[in-house]
Amino acid sequence: MVDTEHRQRSPFFTSRALAIRARRFGEVARDVLRNPTTTLGLVIIVTLIGLALLAPILTEPNVPDAYQMPRDWGALNLPPGSPDHLLGTTSTGGDVLYGVLWGARTSLQMSVIVVGITMVVGTMMGSIAGFIGGKVDEIIMRFVDVLLAIPELIFALAIAAVLGPSFANIIFALTVVFWVKYARIIRGQIIHVKNNEYVDSARVIGDSQFNIYLKDVLPNSVTPVIVQATLDMGNIVLVGATLSFIGLAEAGLAEWGVLVSEGQAGISAGRWWASTIPGAMVFLWALAFNLFGDGLRDVLDPRTEGR
């Protein structure tokens, strides 16, 4: 998956290189927006992030912990459309709208933290495997194979389960599971470059390898890494919400999965809103990032499978 047409050998940080990149970005942006479904995804993403960021303004943060659902024993199980509670309330009097907005915040935190850490860890591991090669590479890649052999949710579930229910443990578990693909991408790039540019002299190795890294590997990895990160933003929340639904987060947390779990009980009594609405948010979030990520991939690497 190497974009050989756009291999850039220019140094990373000159102003000319940056100008080229800026122009390229503009082209990519235009191509991306040309596709209606991709644009739709982007619009939803922006909306969701906006809601997340504006949560403290749109609703009154709960005290002492804004991330705990507020309890209002006087307003239990109100349906959507009730005064003061646009989307209704839960069985403990929590405002569903509050849950939606602060849940968006939680999801944003979750995905950004996990994607951030996994990108760094994955890049590091991939670089080590690629540069050092040999035994180290073998070991790391076997490790990667093992990790990829297990379905993501089950693995994250097992890890979070043995650690105990907490939001932090969920994040840890997700991190352990999701770093692998980045390692693969980076390593692949390094191997590709290595096959093309073999540097002989031992003295020069220390220096040029780093330069090679900056000039060849990084710029060309940017694309697949970005696509992967976008898709991960969606899937991390999907898996994370499932984990919290199963019960691996703190009770009463303002998180979509927790809300669905707590709203479950009211289904047979006809109280659909406490579980359906937060669940729909998870769907929207995952859908948006998937649509946008797929669209990005189509534009940045049209040779991949698809339509």
Binding site: V146, I150, P165, I246
Partner: protein, 337 residues
Amino acid sequence: MQIREYIIRRLLILPLIVVGTSIIVFTIGRVGGNPIAIYLEHEMTQEEVAELEDRYGLNESLPVQYIAWAGGVLRGDLGYSGVAAAPVIEVMPRRIGATLELAVASAIIAVALGIALGTFAGARRNRLPDHVTRIFAVSGAATPTFWFAIVLLIIFWVNLGWFPIGRSDAVIFASISHPTGIYTLDAVLAGSFTALRDAVWHLALPALTLGYGSTAIITRMMRSSLAEELNEDYVDAARAKGLPERLVLRRHARRNALIPTVTVIGLGFGFLLQGTVVVEIIFIWPGMGRWMADAVLRGDQATIMAYVLFTSILFLVVNLVVDIVYAYLDRRVVLGA
């Protein structure tokens, strides 16, 4: 003969991967969690806790602990499940039966429906049925199983009352014997139509829910494969022989389009496995997933480890079968044209 080598190589790697997975989960569990949490009771004294720790070998080094556990597994001792209040190995067979029934039913639905829908859409490229199918396919992979299950439950159980919850009606279930542990099979073996009906009726909604995501993945792949194949020369050549369009589609285009689709079936099964926990919780299905959910909440590490082993072995075996089928189908790949 390359196929045989391929199979052998994959079979050898399989246990390594299972071992690797178990090491990772085991280590994280021992290091980060409290393995005997489920055995502790509130009123225990320090000494009693220390005694428990000693009994379960928690004071040994990590590798020793792992070997002890692994040795136990190979002997058939998977530990004691606090949740089920019984040895794991006793509880597992029943649970596995229930989950397998659900997984297989969902897989059959996903594959059959996925191929049918994909073919339907691929043959009508860019017309309305295709667009609708594509929307379904894309959203399917992004749909959280737990939400989808609840929505379906609300519509079909709470409001319409078409389907029941749980695995069976207790009375009907008790009326037949259960040699295989798989309700539908047992009903067929017992020749009881009531039991069969009961089994299928309870199986329908969970299986549809569980199969939804996988159906979407398979549909997507099948559709794009078929659309590609329809552009190939041999399709025109088949038409030029005077074959009716349905035969051109079925015998020529679809058969070739199935080949890349098979690779996605393994992926789809992974999707499916992941959904079992959630589906079993929501539909109150007495399988491995539900057991795991309880174990998760109460820190029952023995069960958790057993579940991890079970799912990773199952997943790897299914993928191996899929890859072998693929290698067999795509003769060009294996025999090297």
